[in-house]
């Protein structure tokens, strides 16, 4: 772009240093995902799990066909 602003999706957009540290623990656990899950009800958490498994299964099935 050349206008001094980082392009979307480049590493310049990623939080670094102290800011990044608040998003992950020392052993690399993503706290944003935990906080998101904790904001849901137990029923919604189970739905997220089921959707996640189904989505992965679909991905694998489609991957096998190509």
């Amino acid at each position: 772009m050349g206008d001094g602003h980082p392009e979307p999706g480049t590493t310049d957009n990623k939080p670094e240093g102290p800011l990044k540290a608040s998003y992950t623990t020392e052993d690399g656990v993503d706290l944003t995902l935990i906080r998101w899950m904790l904001s849901l009800t137990p029923t919604e958490r189970l739905e997220v799990l089921q959707q996640s498994v189904r989505s992965l299964a679909r991905l694998c099935n489609e991957g096998c066909l190509t």
């Binding site: 656990v29 906080r35 997220v48 799990l49 498994v53």
Partner: protein, 163 residues
């Protein structure tokens, strides 16, 4: 092995509707507590009283349960299997179901009851192992796959305590 349609809620509903006394453990318990992990089976610790084993056998019949890893042979669990402290690794029409007689350092249903919390999920009243005990059991087990998830469970517990 035939790919079953994975539906944790349908599995749980069938157990509840057949009056089975059980505690949810493992990955599904972790997710219900808010841990962002994925699992492909439902782990439950069941009461091994004669009456509950009868209910469980009835539920397993409804679920068309058979032992995983036996090729085309569909071997079904019987009373003696369910009364044991061992782990019954089953496939059902709603996906994999692991029935655990005991977990960690030999903890059975009755020992674990006081370490559970109640969850209301889609109208079902479920007993779920509390997060502290889930962590303790995984520490006791010492399997690498259990160790791998411990940092996420501990972080979830810390985040929950801040709420």
């Amino acid at each position: 092995m035939k790919v079953a349609s994975l539906d944790f809620l349908a599995l749980l509903r069938t157990l509840v509707e057949h009056g089975v006394d059980f505690i949810i453990a493992g990955g599904v318990a972790a997710v219900l507590h808010g841990a962002p992990i994925t699992t492909f089976d439902l782990d439950v610790v069941h009461s091994r009283t004669p009456g509950n084993i009868e209910h469980l056998l009835s539920a397993l019949q409804n679920l068309e349960a058979y032992y995983r890893g036996q090729g085309d042979r569909h071997i079904t669990p019987d009373t003696s299997h369910l009364a044991s402290s061992g782990h019954q690794l089953l496939m059902t029409r709603f996906g994999p179901l692991d029935l655990l007689g005991t977990i960690g350092a030999d903890h059975g249903y009755e020992d674990l009851l006081e370490c559970t919390v109640g969850f209301e999920v889609s109208g079902l009243h479920l007993r779920v192992l509390n997060l502290e005990t889930l962590i303790k059991v995984k520490e006791e087990t010492g399997h690498e796959k259990d160790q791998a998830v411990l940092p996420i469970l501990r972080s979830t517990l810390r985040e929950k305590s801040k709420q």
